[in-house]
Symmetry: C2
Subunit: 240 residues, 2 copies
DNA sequence: CGGCTAGTTGACCAGCTTCAAGTATTGTGG
DNA sequence: CCACAATACTTGAAGCTGGTCAACTAGCCG
């Protein structure tokens, strides 16, 4: 199962073999870029949607004095913009964390797919709904959760999202981001992130080493982080 | 010009008289609800989209221990959900701040409008793009801006959005929210919000009294708040 | 008039930031 | 394959931003 995008969209609507073929054919030509590169930069015009096939990326904003906020992490199978429209000028940058394989999908390709199949249309809307719920959750975290809760919540969120595309199992997942990335996503300093991470490790709920996050007690972690997976809007029982 | 919704959408696409007629006819039957009421509550199923015609509302989340985060303010002319899909279960509540006039628009009504006119479709996608950019901005504010910057930035944002629907002028706008609402939107305590507000007043950039925010120096305020209106994605010169 | 909500102020304290230094770990060119 | 540089992580100490608690004032509505 190499196509994470199709795999994810199955959670949003029942796709026919034909639908899946259409979606898979979007995934070319594959482009590759190294770690810590920008795919698109704030202020540029976007001509296509970016679909991540492999590796991790993020949407981020830099402030003039060096502060940085990571607005969203993008995982394999993620579409980085809403599928129905492209902004004239980007108001954020899209950068890679690991080496990334991606594909630039023209709006017209996506739109004709939605017109050809209402299942594809529903699946894409579901995907957009989840992306927007993710932003709501991030606002709640940044606004009202403590550093420790934010961290636990992010781990739960990433676990749930990676699970959707078969990149996580019960015991954990590969977490290729630096502590500075986590700090910039959670709106805290890297020093404090380090200490929060140690506090979370001290609870015994997780272990993080060699870029692998081991979750010893998923339910316990979700509870400690006030995590509720409802925002994933998983209605259908999807099979692998 | 009573229809704020149409007025706003003109900024997203050139609408024909017929398009505007279709959009206006969505705005019935009008429902009314008092201040400080919930239109929809977290966990409920939504059957229609909510379109605000008059008054202020907000999307918010309550945490189990009483903390509250306001995720977005909704102004006259705002559609409170993405137009293409309704979640099976809401992951947030929709509450009013002032008395509100709104209308519940069935998805099918919106979808048939988008199919009837590609201008309407483009305008709605533009609206969705702006809503999502607003969420990005909120994440940046909550994560990386100081209390004072957040406050100034929110004032600039509200000014720009109200201006789109003719509810603001150069000198200011009616701001019917309490200090507690502002605090819950900006992720700070109400006490600290009060002090930040006083600090902002002390700069001479604004005055806030009797629910009216007077902006004495819009450019100065935007500068102090690191505000850039790019996220409104105003491509077309729209006329009133 | 009385009770509620909104706003204001003071005092104290906690969470988090900043600065600084030191230790691992990773990557790179000779 | 080593030496060195750069990046990532860790720790300590000091200080600031913003939180909490509490009291008081002002306005509003029944």
């Amino acid at each position: 199962m190499s196509d994470r995008f199709v795999r994810k969209l199955r959670h949003g609507a029942a796709l026919s073999a034909e639908d899946e073929g259409v979606l898979s054919r979007m995934a070319e030509p594959i482009q590759r870029v190294g770690a810590r590169q920008d795919i698109m930069r704030e202020g540029e015009q976007a001509h296509s949607l970016t679909l991540i096939l492999q590796g991790w990326a993020c949407r981020y904003r830099d402030l003039p004095d060096g502060r940085r906020q990571i607005i969203a992490f993008f995982l394999p199978g993620d579409l980085c913009e809403p599928f129905g429209i492209l902004p004239e000028f980007l108001d954020y940058s899209l950068g890679t964390i690991t080496p990334v394989e991606f594909v630039l999908v023209p709006s017209s390709t996506i739109l004709s797919a939605t017109r050809a199949s209402s299942s594809i249309e529903r699946a894409l809307w579901w995907d957009l709904l989840v992306a927007s719920s993710l932003l709501h959750e991030r606002a709640v975290s940044l606004g009202r959760r403590t550093a420790l809760e934010r961290l636990g919540h992010l781990f739960c969120e990433l676990h749930a999202r990676l699970d959707l595309v078969g990149l996580a199992d019960r015991s954990g997942f590969v977490l290729p981001v630096t502590q500075r990335d986590l700090a910039d996503a959670l709106g805290i300093s890297d020093v404090h992130l380090n200490r929060s991470l140690q506090a979370l490790r001290a609870t015994g709920l997780i272990t993080l080493s060699d870029r692998y996050l081991m979750i010893h007690d998923l339910i316990g972690l979700q509870h400690a982080a006030l995590f509720d997976a409802a925002f994933l809007h998983l209605r259908l029982a999807a099979k692998d």
